[in-house]
């Protein structure tokens, strides 16, 4: 009887442990997914360099820290640097190729991603880099499960970022203008909204969001010039899962993917975890092409 109860308690603790693992990873996927959505909303482009923003943010922070900056300053400067890289991508590539079709622009972002990886290994290196955990590594115990302080940072910062973005998009003129551009670009032009500036802000924002993800994940998973590939892919999957362009969808997609991975690794085999995750996405996309939270477009004219 006692043994049975103990076993049940342990299974609950394990379950909680998987939830913690899934939520942490899911929060990072959410940040990447939101980056995808911000640019998609403003430009209809799927920016496949979003994962590279994460890599640039993490790598910049690691090297700024090595150069002697305090962690907080390295993190903030890395976010600013990556936002600038995002703006450069808009000004020097996307804007120039504006006349080309959407497909061409998407291919352009793939090219940009490859370029970013190449440049990163030239100006930095090919090694893995890490940041110290923001507030130590002593894990906290909750109901028999253990949570690393950095996981709390990831989840809380993700929530703060989502809340801040919500305020930005509903309370500020620039944020409203970005939603207007997303809703109807021509009408936005006719209102005198500076669509160019809006797109620039979108890329800067996506860059900053990616960098936040990179700085948060670096103490957990390390970062190197190819870190953006897999995280970008997972973030894209999360965005598609939730319905690209939707913020609640990005959160839902990130959480579903993160928790799905953790539970697969925990209860099934971790060997096919990625394959299973992508299989789920394919099934969801066939069943609900606009994502689990996406609205059907059939009724729209």
């Amino acid at each position: 009887m006692v043994a049975k109860t103990l076993k049940a308690i342990r299974l609950m603790a394990d379950f909680l442990q998987f939830i913690i693992a899934g939520t942490t990873v899911g929060a990072v996927y959410t940040l990447v997914a939101i980056g995808f959505s911000v640019i998609f909303n403003a430009t209809r482009i799927v920016n496949f360099a979003q994962g590279e923003f994460l890599m640039i943010g993490g790598m910049s922070a690691a090297f700024l820290l090595k150069a002697g900056l305090p962690l907080w300053a390295a993190a903030l400067l890395a976010i600013a640097v990556t936002a600038a890289v995002g703006m450069a991508l808009e000004v020097f590539a996307v804007r120039i190729a504006r006349g080309a079709g959407i497909l061409m622009l998407i291919v352009l972002t793939i090219g940009a991603a490859i370029t970013f990886r190449g440049v990163a290994q030239i100006i930095w290196d090919r090694n893995y880099h890490s940041l110290p955990a923001f507030s130590g590594t002593a894990p906290l115990d909750i109901f028999g499960a253990s949570i690393a302080p950095q996981s709390i940072w990831v989840i809380v910062v993700c929530l703060v970022v989502v809340a801040a973005l919500h305020l930005f998009f509903t309370r500020t003129l620039v944020g409203k203008a970005m939603r207007a551009v997303a809703a109807d670009r021509d009408a936005a032009y006719l209102c005198g909204i500076d669509v160019n500036r809006t797109m620039l802000v979108a890329f800067a924002l996506a860059g900053a969001l990616g960098a936040v993800g990179g700085v948060l994940i670096a103490p957990i998973a390390l970062i190197h010039f190819e870190s953006g590939i897999m995280l970008g892919l997972k973030g894209f999957a999360a965005a598609m899962l939730g319905g690209i362009g939707s913020f609640p969808g990005a959160i839902a997609g990130g959480l579903v993917l993160g928790l799905g991975e953790a539970f697969t690794a925990g209860y099934l085999t971790s060997a096919y975890k990625d394959a299973l995750a992508f299989l789920v996405i394919v099934i969801v996309l066939i069943a609900r092409p606009n994502g689990i939270l996406g609205k059907s477009t059939a009724g729209r004219v």
């Binding site: 003129l173 409203k176 203008a177 939603r179 207007a180 809703a183 109807d184 021509d186 009408a187 936005a188 032009y189 006719l190 209102c191 005198g192 909204i193 500076d194 669509v195 160019n196």
Partner: protein, 233 residues
């Protein structure tokens, strides 16, 4: 107010507007009438700067604006209410209006919003509603109010009566006259040529991309060939 000279615009290889030359004077209401696909909407989009011209010149207040960006044209008082209303559906009525005044300073924007709500009390009542949830007539009012937020000196109105009930159409045309009475010039594209000509000073007739006739509104209204082609006999 606006002078257009030899304006040509195309969609790929198809020329939609061919060497259009016309003008709208200060304080005028001018109609552009013509069948579906005559190139009226492309012409309006070119005037606002969201469709690139292939040739020709546009002057506003005597100054060349052919190459100006849309936002700069709005800033000078050349504002369009697009065909199909095109309100920002997911945004609230109030946010739609705020964005209409994107080019103005905050204090001025608030002043204009007060005026817009005076003009359209129904929009004030529904200011927190999503624009999507408004009726067609309300959306048209919102679209016009949004344009008024930019303090237009020349208002481009593209098919304002499309798909609306007759009672509301009448209201809209009354409104256009009222706005004109306060000194706003209007270029009106309408399929409902009878109503358009009734409130216009002058009019141009467009056919397959070219302006084929022009004259006083009253004169065109009584012209047998125009009546036959556009006014339903």
């Amino acid at each position: 107010m606006i002078e257009v000279e030899g304006l040509t615009a195309s969609h790929g290889r198809v020329t939609a507007v061919r060497e259009a030359t016309f003008e709208v004077g200060a304080g005028e209401v001018v109609s552009l009438i013509g069948a579906n696909g005559a190139g009226k909407t492309t012409l309006m989009r070119t005037l606002s700067g969201i469709h690139p011209p292939a040739a020709g010149r546009i002057r506003f207040d005597g100054k060349e604006i052919t190459r100006l960006r849309p936002t700069e044209r709005v800033g000078r008082g050349l504002v369009q209410v697009p065909e199909g209303r095109r309100v920002f559906g997911p945004l609230s009525v109030e946010d739609n209006l705020i964005l209409g005044g994107a080019t103005a300073a905050p204090a001025e924007r608030r002043r204009r919003m007060g005026k817009a709500f005076d003009l359209f009390p129904v929009l004030f009542e529904r200011r927190h509603a999503q624009a999507n949830s408004l009726s067609g007539g309300e959306q048209q009012m919102l679209a016009i109010a949004r344009a008024l937020m930019a303090a237009p000196r020349l208002l481009l109105l593209d098919e304002p009566s499309l798909g609306l009930a007759p009672k509301i159409i009448a209201d809209i045309f009354d409104l256009v006259q009222a706005l004109n009475g306060r000194g706003t010039a209007v270029l009106l594209v309408e399929q409902n040529a009878v109503a358009a000509l009734r409130i216009s000073h002058r009019a141009y007739v467009m056919e397959t991309g070219s302006i084929i006739r022009s004259g006083d509104a009253a004169e065109l209204r009584n012209d047998p060939s125009v009546r036959a082609a556009y006014l339903g006999g």
